[in-house]
Every structure is written in structure tokens, then in C-alpha cells.
């Protein structure tokens, strides 16, 4: 238990200390928010869908959580050769505890990052519909963070070199984001895209966030929560197995 805690604490400490990195990590979501929010705003309005900034803000919050949590796992690749991970793998602690401490540490960092982006969105003019549904939004932020920290651990445990990292970025992380409905509504999509969005677990996270923040959702919150818990459990089990097989 103390091992899980200290490894979790390590991840959180590293995050809160990297001020420059925190500022840099705001840049990308901010760009999406401002460029798309104001750039596509007029078209969106004309189509009768309301404010695009309102619509896209939950997507941007989801994006920052997705990226932060997946990267914390992919960091394993570097960490096991040139970092602290090696030291933990020879310690008299079960691998599972190390994996739990590290994955949930990564998820916690992603939640903190997500909250930071919520504040950035509020400053940019985003206004949640009801205060009462904000706790629900937090639940979705937590679920997204855990799901993709788990996926990150799977990838980070299996990757062998830096080329694989680029590959994952282009063929997994970006598609998860772009095919999730973070940037466009899920209604009236061509059937191909509609089918793909329903396979992407991020779709349910974004939809849940949007439902909680602005009150418009495609699926019911219960569906979203159940799908995310299922996928999170699946990735965590897969992550634990992959992590147990890491060889130095």
C-alpha cells in the first residue's frame, strides 16, 4: 500500500513542479478552443446549432485529459531505460502495485490538467449550463483519465523504441481524438463515420462531458458511464498484464 502511495505521489509531485511544462501544455487546447471556437463559430451558428465555443469546450477539456493520460503511460518507454522505473522493477514490491501507483498517478495528473483547462475555457468565455451537474462532469473527467492512463500503460509497456512512439501518436492517439465527436455533433453523420465514432471509447467520454457541462448529449449519462467503466477495466487489466511482462 505504501509503495502504491509513494509512486502515485511521485507522479503528482513531478507534475506540480514542472511549471514550464504546464504552461506549454495549455497552448494546444487553447489553440483548438480559440481557432476553432471563433473560427467555426459563425458557420455553426448559421447551421442553427448555437455557440460553437460552448460546444467545443468540453471536447477540448477531454482532449487535454486524453493526451496527458496517454503520455504518462508512454513515458514508461523512456523511464524504464533511463529513469526511475528500473529501480522500482527490482524492488521487493509486486509489479501490480507499481503499475497501479504509476497508472493512477498518471490519471491524477491528467485530471489536474483537465481542471486547469476548465478554468482556461471559463476565461475564454465558456459557460456551463448548470452548476448542479458539474460533479457529474468531474466523474467523466476521472473516467476518461483512468481509461486512457490504462491504455497508455499498455502501449508504454509494449513499445520497444522511439519510432513506435510516433506511430502510436499518428495511428492511435490522434484518431481517438478526431473520431470522438469532440469537434462535431454525433447527429446526421455519414454512416461510416457514425459507426467508427461508436467504437471509439473517447466518444462516450466527450458525450458525457458535454451532457454534464452544457446539457446536450447523444447518449444517456448511464450508457456513457457504463461504457467507460467497462473500457477502463479492460485497459487496466491489459495494462497490468503488459506491465508484468516488461523485460529490461
Amino acid at each position: 500500500m505504501s509503495a502504491i502511495y509513494i509512486l502515485w505521489l511521485r507522479e503528482v509531485k513531478r507534475y506540480t513542479r514542472s511549471r514550464a511544462q504546464i504552461v506549454a501544455s495549455i497552448a494546444q487546447p487553447l489553440l483548438y478552443l480559440l481557432a476553432l471556437g471563433f473560427g467555426l463559430g459563425p458557420v455553426f451558428q448559421k447551421a442553427g446549432e448555437g455557440s460553437y465555443l460552448q460546444f467545443v469546450a468540453p471536447g477540448v477539456i477531454g482532449l487535454s485529459i486524453l493526451f496527458t493520460s496517454i503520455f504518462s503511460g508512454i513515458g514508461l518507454l523512456w523511464d524504464r531505460q533511463f529513469g526511475f522505473l528500473k529501480e522500482t522493477l527490482v524492488a521487493p514490491v509486486p509489479r501490480l502495485n507499481i503499475m497501479i501507483g504509476k497508472t493512477f498517478g498518471g490519471a491524477t495528473v491528467a485530471i489536474l490538467q483537465g481542471m486547469l483547462i476548465v478554468i482556461v475555457c471559463l476565461i475564454a468565455g465558456f459557460r456551463p449550463a448548470h452548476v448542479s451537474t458539474l460533479p457529474l462532469a468531474l466523474i467523466f473527467m476521472v473516467l476518461i483519465a483512468i481509461t486512457f492512463a490504462g491504455l497508455g500503460t499498455v502501449i508504454g509497456s509494449k513499445l520497444q523504441n522511439m519510432q513506435g512512439f510516433q506511430l502510436m501518436m499518428n495511428f492511435l492517439v490522434m484518431p481517438i481524438f478526431f473520431l470522438s465527436g469532440a469537434l462535431y455533433p454525433l447527429t446526421n453523420l455519414p454512416w461510416g463515420l457514425a459507426a467508427v465514432t461508436r467504437i471509439d471509447p473517447m466518444t462516450y467520454g466527450i458525450d458525457g462531458l458535454r451532457g454534464a457541462f452544457i446539457g446536450t448529449a447523444h447518449f444517456s449519462p448511464v450508457t456513457n458511464v457504463i461504457v467507460l467503466i467497462g473500457v477502463a477495466a479492460f485497459f487496466l487489466i491489459l495494462g497490468a498484464r503488459a506491465f508484468a511482462r516488461i523485460q529490461i
Binding site: 526511475f84 523504441n161 522511439m162 529490461i248
Partner: protein
């Protein structure tokens, strides 16, 4: 303290360790010398529970690293060839995490952290981030950390690689003094013959996965009728240069060099 019989490890059709046998007595300093790719690191990885062997037997303090991994891990400390500190944390925090992972009770932990950091001349810098440390300081911290849980054996895999003579000298002085005061058995690998001769009681020379000679430095010189350990080493292992296959770790090491300040 360490007993190895006919240890075997294959990677595909490459035999990394081909039937190695040796004994290390309690309190001894034992050096493992060999050209690149001879099987030094693989042997250490098997002894330290990181890689399962394909044959042979091992005992660490009477325990089997394969079947009793956790108990074995509690009994050794290790300094890896590549850095394994968290450079975003302070020296103290790195020590503290190690102590928690090795189940050292809080009071003992804090006493020993102070004692070891003082001994390795890092106590004044305990609250500084490791990223501000020089290569020599990082190595000292890693070795201090390896001693924290009072291990019976300390494994050092090329600990002085890339250090200046002053840092190397100081590092071995500390290791020797702890070997005497805490009776820790030390198992080391190095490419510096002078270090092995100065520090180690006994030396084993490994090449192509097999031990080609073992004994004290004097015995090895006598065996080969040479007047220095370096000449004895070359007489035993030949003068051809070994090209290591660039595995992912080696590629990343190359990459890391580019980014190191």
C-alpha cells in the same frame, strides 16, 4: 553469498551466457571483467531477478532468484549501467522512495539516509533536484541509495563509466569503506583494469558467455605470464574488437547522449 552453476541464457540462436559457474564469498569484492557483449550484464540481470535463466542454478544468500524473487530482491542493492534516478526529484526524495519500496521503517530510514548522504558527501545537497547534479554526484547518490536497505550484496554494473579519475577514485574509496564497515558483498563489472586490480579481491574474466579465467589479479598475471592485468586480460580474450548488436536499449542510449547537457 553467491553461488552460480552452469548458468545459461539464450536469446534466439545467440547464446549470451553459456554455462557460467562461480562462487562469491560473504564480504568479498568480486569483479567481473569482459569485452562488450561477453555476457556480464546478462549475468547480473539473471542474478538480480530481472531475466529468467534458460538453464543452470543460482543462489543468492541461499535463496533462488527465480522462485524466491521478492526475498532475493530485499537482499541486494544494484547500480545499473544506465541512470535510474528521478532527476525531477531531490536527492532526499529519491532516497525516501527507495526506503519505502524496500520496507525500511521510517526511523531507521531517516537515520540511514542522513548517514549515507553524509558519507557520500551529498548531505548539503539533499534538497537539490537531481537534475542539477554532476555525473559523479548522481553515481554517488545511486550507490548511497543501493546501500540504504542494508543489503547483503551490492551489484555495480560499470558504475564508473564516463566519470573523471577523481570521481572514480572517490567512489571506490566509499564502496570499499562500506564493504568493510557493513560487510556488504560487492559484485562489480568494469572496463577499467586498474579499478578491478585495486578494489577486487578476486576477478573472473568472461568472454563469449564463458568464464575463461578466475582468481586474484596476481594469479591471473601469473597464469598468463604477463606483468599487468590489462595484458593478462588481452592475452585471455584476444585483441579483436567486439561489435555489439545495437539493440533498442543501445539505440536509446545513443539518443540519450544527444540530449544530455
Amino acid at each position: 553469498m553467491i553461488q552460480v552453476r552452469d548458468l545459461l541464457k539464450k536469446y534466439g540462436d545467440v547464446t549470451a551466457v553459456a554455462g557460467v559457474s562461480f562462487d562469491v564469498a560473504p564480504g568479498e569484492i568480486f569483479a567481473f571483467l569482459g569485452p562488450n557483449g561477453a555476457g556480464k550484464t546478462t549475468t547480473i540481470q539473471m542474478l538480480t531477478t530481472l531475466v529468467p535463466p534458460d538453464g543452470g542454478t543460482m543462489q543468492i544468500d541461499g535463496l533462488d532468484p527465480v522462485r524466491q524473487a521478492s526475498a532475493v530482491r530485499q537482499r541486494f542493492g544494484i547500480v545499473f549501467q544506465d541512470a535510474s534516478l528521478d532527476s525531477e526529484l531531490t536527492a532526499w526524495e529519491n532516497m525516501e522512495i527507495h526506503g519505502v519500496l524496500y520496507h525500511v521503517p521510517r526511523r531507521t530510514r531517516h537515520e540511514r539516509i542522513e548517514r549515507l548522504l553524509t558519507l557520500f558527501e551529498l548531505w548539503d545537497r539533499r534538497d537539490a533536484y537531481v537534475k542539477t547534479f554532476s555525473g559523479g554526484m548522481r553515481r554517488r547518490l545511486e550507490i548511497a541509495r543501493g546501500f540504504l536497505h542494508t543489503p547483503k550484496i551490492l551489484f555495480l554494473d560499470e558504475p564508473t563509466l564516463g566519470l573523471d579519475p577523481q570521481s572514480r577514485n572517490q567512489l571506490w574509496t566509499h564502496v570499499k569503506s562500506l564493504n568493510e564497515s557493513e560487510h556488504v558483498t560487492v559484485f562489480l563489472t568494469t572496463h577499467y583494469m586498474d579499478e578491478a586490480e585495486r578494489v577486487a579481491g578476486r576477478i573472473a574474466i568472461i568472454d563469449h558467455g564463458k568464464i575463461v579465467a578466475q582468481g586474484t589479479a596476481a594469479e591471473l598475471k601469473q597464469q598468463t605470464s604477463t606483468d599487468s592485468l590489462e595484458k593478462a586480460f588481452l592475452a585471455l580474450t584476444g585483441t579483436t574488437i567486439r561489435d555489439e548488436r545495437a539493440d533498442p536499449a543501445a539505440q536509446m542510449r545513443q539518443f540519450a547522449k544527444m540530449w544530455r547537457r
